[in-house]
Structure formats: structure tokens, C-alpha cells
């Protein structure tokens, strides 16, 4: 490594860890960004793509789609079993890895390393706090909050399938509410267990990946692609096949994660439309879902063609505005005072239960720990290359302390508020009207998860308006994941270049929509989503190594 000493920063720090000089600590490598790229032309379209990452990723994705379509009955169970095997056999590893990521992030936050600035000591932020937070939150979690905000708390409160968190007593058994003290205890456990899945742990996974990528690209001068964060481990070999495999795996996980979520999400959104507007049998054919995929892909296309500033950021801000509107509506139309009071209790329960919930060994709640927690962790980790890289791209100019505060702590609080309002309202309906409540019907009596949110909204005033807003929000959340995901895939397959021809990002948006539509029409969405989530295990292993690389990389940075 060579010192990058164009700046007159001084090493006058009195901190325990010696502070290096210079604006940032550039890694001295012979690799030139784009040296493996090829620039073919298809008609008038010029391309600038990494060879072999672009071609192999594209071919692998197409091969998986074709094989899944052709051999659905054989392939489906294989991928679903693989995911089940990984989450039930390696649940301890996922839980331990999750805990490690949280501890590493909190350790960096409170240490002098928090003063390192992404992009070097004299870098300035590219985005305001509002725009930055809107983008990172919309890409990372939005759609899940819509789907699970009602479902998960209600499920843990009254699951009749014996998979409640920590094997605690549930609040409703065979349609009969427990005594008030037991109901309150079950409610607190349900909220703590839900916030645990949407709080520090998932955001720590994203933060580790995002911070590593940002550090190795903006401070160390390596290409903005997933392989760069493993440079301290693999050294120059990272420019060869070990790096190609990491990048291809990242493209695979991102594309299938997005395409299958888009396909399944379109089905859920059309079910919601059918429910709200009373259209019977809307999901009997795939027409409505395919139309939704075309709309979402079209909006994502406009967004990426308008760029980060004019498209992705604007849409993310609109998205946040709509989400705040829906949140405010449920808060005001729901049991407002109860929810406000419960928020602090829920947060307290989360922090007091986090030790028990995150303990990887000696537990008996297999259904919760393996079926929910390990599944979520594998899911977050498989999404981490996409979300991490997108967050990295928009975080230049922030200090590490600001970064961890805004990527770990604030999102955790936002998730806790969201879960309190949506889950709290739903549980309140359940307590007041028990088996008469819509959420009881959709979550406990029968399991129709895609209608749980709409069920809760249907029992509040102005249900038609709020449900329509919820459907629009679901669609916009998909667009904000789809556009940022396509930008990430484009950058990885261009070898870390962010100035590749626009036609490439257009290709990836359309390709993602086509994969989603093909799998929706031909079947296999759930199978390939399972395959995508299965990439969580190999990524979890390399992310543990990445923590070491991250700390080592931060130690050699000046703290201006």
C-alpha cells in the first residue's frame, strides 16, 4: 500500500490507535479498472462489459430459468429443500454471524474509527440526509415492512402452529383470549421478536457490506464491485476467478432476489387489488400480475434512465412521503394513545429480549429460530450485495459514525415505529374483536399472508382510500428496489464502472422484468427465490471474513 499524501492532514491524534497521514489510503494494485472489459456493439448499441462476469451471469441466469421452467416438479423441491436444509442445519451459524455483524458495527461506531470519512478526509456528501436516508431505506427494507408489518406480530401473538418465539405462551388459543396479563406478555414477546427481525441485525448485515464496499472503493481506490471488499483476504487473486465467482454470485442473488420478489409481489399486489375493489378471481389467471410487472418495470426503466438524482432519489423520496402518510393515517385512525405508549414498551422489550432471541444454541423454539430467524438472516444476507452496494454508492462523504448511525440505528428505530403502529393496531383489533377481527381470519384461522395488511386496514375508517394508498405504496416500493438493483447489477457486470453506457442498465431492468414474467407464467417463482436465499450461506461465510477486512481497512485510514 502507498500513502496518498496530497493533503496536509496531520497525525496529531491522541487516540489509542495511531492515525495514518493523507486524504485516504489508496491501495497500490496493478489492476486497472476496466482492463478486463470488452466493448462489443450490438447494432447501434455500444457496450462496456466485464468479461467474463457479464456473460457468465447472463448465461447462468438464463440457464436456471430454462431448467426451472422445463423441470418445475423436479427442480422446485430441490431448491426448497436446499433452503430448508441450510436454515435448519446452519441456523446457529446465521445467528452467530448476525450477532457478530451487530457487534462489529457498534464497536466501530464507538471507536475512533468512527471518525474516518468515506471518500477521504476532504470528501463532501453527495446527498442531503433526507435524500440519502430515503434511498437507502427504500432499497433495503420497504417492501418487507408492507408485507410483514401486520403479519408477523399477529402471527407470533397467536400462532396455532407451535412456532412462537422462545416457546412463550401465546395470547390467543383456539379463538379464546388469555387473561390480560398473559395477553400483554404475549404482545410484548411478539413485538420484540418482530423488531428483532427488522432491527439492528438486518441493518448490521447491510452496514457491513455497504461500509466495506464504500471504504474499498472510495478510500482505497478499488473498483466499486463486490470483490473489492475481499482484497485484504485474497490479494491480487481477487482480479481472477475467485473475484469473478463472488461477483457472479452477487449478480445471481440480486437478479433472482429481485425478479422472484417482483413476481411474487405482483401476485400479492393483484390479490390486494382484488380484495379492495371486490374483483373476484383476479389471480385465477396471471394477466393482472403480468400487467403489474410491466407497470413496475416501466416505472423502473424511467427511473434508471433519469439517473440517480433525477430518478432513483426522487422516487425514493416520493416513496418515503407515501409511507409516512400511510403510517400517520394508521397511527391516527388506530388506537393512537395506546400505540404511542406501547412504542417505548416495545423498544424496551426488544432490548431486554435481544439476548435470548439472538442466542444461537440451547433453544427449543425451532419453528421460530429456524423457520423465521435463520430464514430472514439468509434472506438479508442474500440481498446484502445489492443493498450494500447501493448504500455504498450513495454514501460518499459521510463519516463512518454518521454512516452507522443512519444505516443501523435510525432504520432500527423506524422499523420499530412501523411495527408498533401496524402490528400494534392489528393486535389491538385482535384483542378487541378476537375471532371477529379480519387479521384473525387471515393470519390465525387461515393463513392468507398477502391480505393481512388489507384486513387490518379494512377495520379502520376510510379503508378504501388507505388500502388504495397501500397498493400504490407496494408498487412504488417494488420500483425503488427494482431501479436501484438494476443499477447495482449494471455496475458489477461493468467491472465496477459507473459510467457504462445507459443501454446496459436498460437491459438489466427489462431482463429482470422478463425473468419475473416468465417465472410467473411458467411457474417456479418460489423455487428460484429459494435458490436465491440459499446464496445466503456462502455469503455469510465470506461476510464474516469481510468484517476482518473492514476493520483492517479502517485502521489504515486517516481520521480527519
Amino acid at each position: 500500500m502507498s500513502q496518498h499524501d496530497d493533503d496536509d492532514q496531520q497525525t496529531t491524534s491522541s487516540e489509542a490507535i495511531p492515525e495514518p497521514e493523507g486524504a485516504s489510503d489508496i491501495i497500490d494494485t496493478d489492476y486497472e479498472i476496466g482492463q478486463d472489459n470488452i466493448t462489443p456493439s450490438i447494432g447501434p448499441f455500444g457496450l462496456d462489459i466485464h468479461n467474463p462476469v457479464f456473460l457468465v451471469s447472463g448465461l447462468v441466469v438464463m440457464a436456471f430459468v430454462i431448467i426451472t421452467l422445463a423441470f418445475q416438479n423436479q427442480v422446485g423441491p430441490i431448491f426448497t429443500d436446499l433452503r430448508g436444509f441450510l436454515t435448519s442445519s446452519f441456523d446457529w451459524f446465521f445467528l452467530m454471524a448476525g450477532n457478530l455483524f451487530v457487534l462489529v458495527c457498534l464497536g466501530i461506531l464507538v471507536s475512533p474509527l468512527g471518525k474516518v470519512r468515506i471518500g477521504g478526509v476532504d470528501a463532501t456528501p453527495d446527498y442531503s440526509y433526507g435524500g440519502w436516508f430515503a434511498m437507502l431505506f427504500a432499497a433495503g427494507m420497504g417492501i418487507g415492512l408492507m408485507f410483514f408489518g401486520v403479519l408477523e406480530p399477529v402471527y407470533y401473538f397467536g400462532t396455532p402452529w407451535g412456532d412462537q418465539p422462545l416457546m412463550r405462551d401465546i395470547g390467543i388459543v383456539d379463538g379464546v383470549l388469555a387473561d390480560p396479563a398473559a395477553v400483554e406478555a404475549a404482545r410484548l414477546t411478539a413485538m420484540a421478536a418482530t423488531i428483532y427481525h427488522w432491527g439492528l441485525h438486518p441493518w448490521a448485515i447491510y452496514a457491513v457490506v455497504a461500509l466495506s464496499l464504500a471504504l474499498f472503493a472510495y478510500n482505497k481506490g478499488l473498483p466499486l464491485t463486490i470483490r473489492s471488499m475481499f482484497y485484504p483476504i485474497f490479494g491480487e487473486r481477487i482480479w481472477g476467478w475467485p473475484g469473478h465467482v463472488i461477483d457472479i454470485l452477487a449478480v445471481f442473488a440480486t437478479l433472482f432476489g429481485l425478479a422472484t420478489s417482483l413476481g411474487l409481489g405482483a401476485q400479492q399486489a393483484s390479490a390486494g387489488i382484488g380484495f379492495v375493489f371486490g374483483i373476484e378471481g383476479i389471480n385465477d389467471t396471471v394477466t393482472a400480475s403480468v400487467v403489474l410487472i410491466v407497470i413496475i418495470t416501466g416505472m423502473a426503466l424511467i427511473s434508471v434512465m433519469r439517473g440517480l438524482d433525477g430518478g432513483v432519489k426522487v422516487l425514493s423520496e416520493i416513496n418515503m412521503g407515501l409511507a409516512v402518510l400511510l403510517l400517520a393515517f394508521v397511527l391516527l385512525a388506530g388506537p393512537t394513545l395506546t400505540l404511542v405508549t406501547q412504542f417505548f414498551g416495545n423498544l424496551g422489550a426488544y432490548f431486554s429480549e435481544i439476548g435470548a432471541l439472538s442466542n444461537p444454541i440451547g433453544r427449543e423454539d425451532d419453528g421460530y429460530r429456524q423457520g423465521w430467524t435463520a430464514f430472514y438472516w439468509a434472506w438479508w444476507i442474500s440481498w446484502s450485495p445489492f443493498v450494500g452496494m447501493f448504500i455504498a454508492r450513495v454514501s460518499r462523504g459521510r463519516t463512518v459514525r454518521e454512516f452507522i448511525t443512519c444505516v443501523l440505528l435510525i432504520p432500527t428505530l423506524v422499523s420499530a415505529v412501523w411495527m408498533t403502529v401496524f402490528g400494534g393496531t392489528a393486535i389491538d383489533q385482535l384483542i378487541n374483536t378476537v375471532t371477529e377481527s379480519a387479521v384473525y381470519g387471515y393470519v390465525i384461522a387461515a393463513y392468507v399472508p398477502e391480505l393481512s395488511l388489507f384486513g387490518m386496514l379494512s377495520q379502520l375508517p376510510l379503508a378504501a382510500i388507505s388500502s388504495t394508498l397501500a397498493i400504490i405504496l407496494v408498487i412504488v416500493f417494488f420500483v425503488t428496489s427494482s431501479d436501484s438493483g438494476s443499477l447495482v447489477i449494471d455496475t458489477i457486470t461493468a467491472g465496477g464502472k459507473i459510467d457504462a453506457p445507459v443501454s446496459q442498465r436498460v437491459f438489466w431492468v427489462i431482463f429482470e422484468g422478463l425473468v419475473a414474467a416468465a417465472l410467473l407464467i411458467g411457474g417456479g417463482l418460489a423455487a428460484l427465490q429459494a435458490a436465491s436465499v440459499s446464496t445466503g450461506l456462502p455469503f455469510a461465510i465470506v461476510l464474516v471474513l469481510a468484517c476482518y477486512a473492514l476493520v483492517k481497512g479502517l485502521l489504515s485510514e486517516p481520521r480527519g
Binding site: 496518498h4 496530497d6 447501434p44 453527495d126 472503493a217 438524482d309 464502472k497 459507473i498 459510467d499 453506457p501
Partner: protein, 137 residues
């Protein structure tokens, strides 16, 4: 007639700019005008630079080199964009305005079918800039 000639530079393809560069130097010489080399770079590392600051230094060195070699007043302005694939035209137009350039000389590609859908950088600058624009094929 012209006081400041703006010459947009892509440092990754300097070798391809010889014809446009020579045109710029000749025009500046003829009109005793200043040349301002303007480069748009992404925030992420690229083939020629690791950081935007390094890009700025290289662009300045390029401008100084041209100024010394041809006895002309040359300056450099580096513009940083988080998404240069999309924002280059917008950034260049703003820079031309801010710098008060009255002539822009730009290298551009030979026309092709794609120009009907997506205009090239030169086409967009010529269509939207208040300055005179000289496109060099």
C-alpha cells in the same frame, strides 16, 4: 470574437481527442481566447483515477501541459457526478454556463441510428447550450 473556449475532456480517452483538441488549440490561438478543459468524472474510481481529487489534479496537469506547449492560457474544471452515465450532459451544460464559455468544441461520434432515440453528448450540448458549439467528428 471568442473569449473562452470550453473543451470537454474524457481523460480515459484522451488519445481519441486529437482532432478536436487541435481544432480547439487553433481556434484559441486565432481568437486569442482562453481554453477551459472541463471533465466530468464519477465519484467511484475509474481506469485513470482513484478519487475525484486525483482526477482534478490530472485534469489540471493536462491543461497546464497544453498551455505550456502552445503558449495559451489554459484552465481546468473537474465536475463530480454520482451518476455520470446520465448526468454528464446536464453537468457540462451547467459548467459551460458557470464558466461563461462562448464557444464549445467537442469530439463526437459519427451519426448512427441510435441518435434518433438517444442523442449523443455533443448533440445535446449543441441543442441546449447558449454558447456556440463546434462538433468534431
Amino acid at each position: 470574437m471568442y473569449r473562452k473556449v470550453i473543451f470537454p475532456v474524457d481523460l480515459t480517452h484522451v488519445d481519441d481527442l486529437s482532432k478536436a483538441l487541435q481544432t480547439t488549440l487553433d481556434l484559441a490561438n486565432h481568437y486569442k481566447a482562453e481554453i477551459c478543459f472541463v471533465g466530468v468524472t464519477g465519484t467511484a474510481p475509474n481506469a485513470v483515477t482513484h478519487t475525484p481529487q486525483e482526477y482534478e489534479r490530472k485534469l489540471r496537469a493536462f491543461a497546464d501541459e497544453q498551455g505550456k506547449a502552445h503558449g495559451l492560457k489554459c484552465s481546468a474544471t473537474a465536475c463530480i457526478s454520482p451518476d455520470p452515465s446520465i448526468d454528464t450532459d446536464k453537468t457540462l451544460l451547467a459548467a459551460i454556463d458557470d464558466l461563461g464559455g462562448d464557444l464549445v468544441v467537442m469530439q463526437t461520434h459519427a451519426p448512427n441510428a441510435l441518435d434518433y432515440i438517444w442523442a449523443g453528448h455533443g448533440d445535446t450540448i449543441a441543442a441546449h447550450s447558449g454558447a456556440s458549439v463546434f462538433l468534431v467528428r
